[in-house]
Amino acid sequence: MPTEDCKKYFEALELSPDAPLSEVRSSYLHLKALYSNDSVVTSAIAYELSEEKRHDIVEQVEEAYTKLIDFFENKDTDPAGSEKPSFVVSEELKQYISGIKSFSGGLLREIREKLGVNLKDMASFTKIRKQYFEDIEREKFSSLPAEVYLRGYVIEYAKYLSLDSIKVANDYIERYRNLGCDK
């Protein structure tokens, strides 16, 4: 994408051109909610802020977000060294994964091994220590960091394996809470 366009999209989301993806997401969600719904902020200036103008803004914001998501995806795959390996997920494995009710450390390890992914690659790609991933698989909760961080690590783990990261994280954190984090 030409840099000028890119700048325009960042501007539409009220961000500086070097803003990270996380800010693009949160700004998009905020602006979309702000101009799609009524709130004190917009109704206080309602006589100027017409329905159609608001609609235009929502469209601009949507467009900017879609374009920027593309931009970030292309950007991430650019550096040749740290590319995430593509792997083929067999139908059989897909079936198996979709049948899983609740993800545990052991199951994650099983899926990873079936996909032929090693933890070292995962660690260097995600910039998260290999030790943490090992502990996640072993459910060695006492050596894992606080829940907010752990959640982030599990999400990265799941994303790397192209799993539904939110579900995996929710399941895993639930186990973490139930099975003891009494350190």
Binding site: E14, S26, L31, S39, V41, A44, I45, E48, K53, I57
Partner: protein, 318 residues
């Protein structure tokens, strides 16, 4: 003077916001107290000539001098700065005995502005009154940092929008006027239906399109134009997002830059302190409110946006 040329002039901050009762004077006194605690010299000016009471927030019951002396007895501004209970803080009280505050002559106004700029101090904080009178707006535009205080109520937001719109419109007028184009903006606004102009942002866009000369003038002046938003008396974490939202509306519909400087949560203790004439920042230095004022003051000083953690904040009750 002796510290080199860089810090020769003091920085002027003006606090306005349109609606009365949103806490402008409280916020002003809080910011001033915080700056003093950081070793700065501060002069507070109460420019709410109709209903001056900044002194009450600073523990002064009856100021010895006030702007009456300046306007009526021609006393220099420097000589009517009184001490308050906080060391290193001076106060110019706005209590007027008889003067009709809306009829201050143009010459007097210019003289006041000139003398404000000449005060020997680090920061000058100007507390403005409610309303969008031209005198109020011109005083606001005098400042290096223009700060509006609003609460999360719709009435406060309405008046705040009205105020900042007038400020911005006047700024455009003055900017163009300085280049011999005084009537241009009024003409555009009068014929807004012809030009298909609905709001202030359209006016700016229209003006920018008229010629490259005007475009250059406006771009230069407006890139430094910035309004800082302070949210006062908020009752839930969710309400902090209002600051970010207001910023967005200013940018997208009014056509100027705004920055959300921070919030102050609602606290009954503040009211109790005001009623007892106790300077809240000194009596409750470790309260949430005092910390929030400290944080927003530093954001203002550095020209930095308050950090809002959308998800985390949304579920927290204050």
């Amino acid at each position: 003077m002796n510290n080199g040329a860089q810090d020769k002039r003091c920085e002027i901050w003006a606090i306005g916001g349109g609606k009365g009762g949103t806490g402008k004077s409280f916020v002003t006194s809080g910011i001033g107290t915080h700056l003093v605690s950081k070793g700065k010299r501060v002069v507070m000016i109460d420019a709410d000539l109709g209903g001056a009471n900044l002194h009450t927030f600073l523990g002064v019951s009856k100021p010895r001098n006030s702007l009456t002396d300046f306007f009526e007895k021609k006393v220099p501004l420097n000589n009517i700065i009184v001490n308050c209970s906080i060391p290193d803080m001076g106060l110019v009280s706005g209590t007027l005995s008889s003067l009709d505050s809306e009829n201050i002559k143009y010459v007097q106004k210019l003289k006041l502005f000139r003398q404000i700029k000449e005060i020997d101090t680090d920061y000058i904080l100007i507390d403005l009154g409610a309303g969008s009178h031209n005198n109020t707006i011109d005083t606001f535009l005098l400042a290096d940092k223009m700060i509006v205080v609003t609460t999360a109520e719709i009435t406060a937001l309405e008046n705040m929008y009205h105020f900042v719109k007038n400020v911005f419109f006047r700024k455009l007028k003055i900017t163009l006027g300085a280049h011999g184009l005084k009537d241009m903006i009024q003409d555009v606004w009068k014929n807004r239906d012809v030009h298909g102009i609905k709001h202030l942002k359209d006016v700016v866009d229209h003006l920018m399109g008229t010629s490259t000369h005007i475009r250059d003038i406006l771009e230069k002046e407006l890139s430094s134009f910035r309004i800082y938003i302070v949210l006062n008396q908020i009752r839930s974490g969710r309400e902090t997002m209002i600051g970010v939202s207001v910023k967005s509306v200013c940018l997208k519909f009014l056509g100027f830059n705004a920055m959300y400087a921070g919030h102050i949560e609602y606290d009954e203790t503040v009211l109790r302190c005001i009623n007892k004439r106790l300077p809240f920042m000194l009596t409750h230095p470790f309260s949430h409110v005092a910390k929030e004022i400290g944080k927003l003051t530093e954001n203002l000083r550095d020209g930095r946006q308050a950090s809002v953690m959308t998800d985390k904040y949304a579920h927290r009750r204050l």
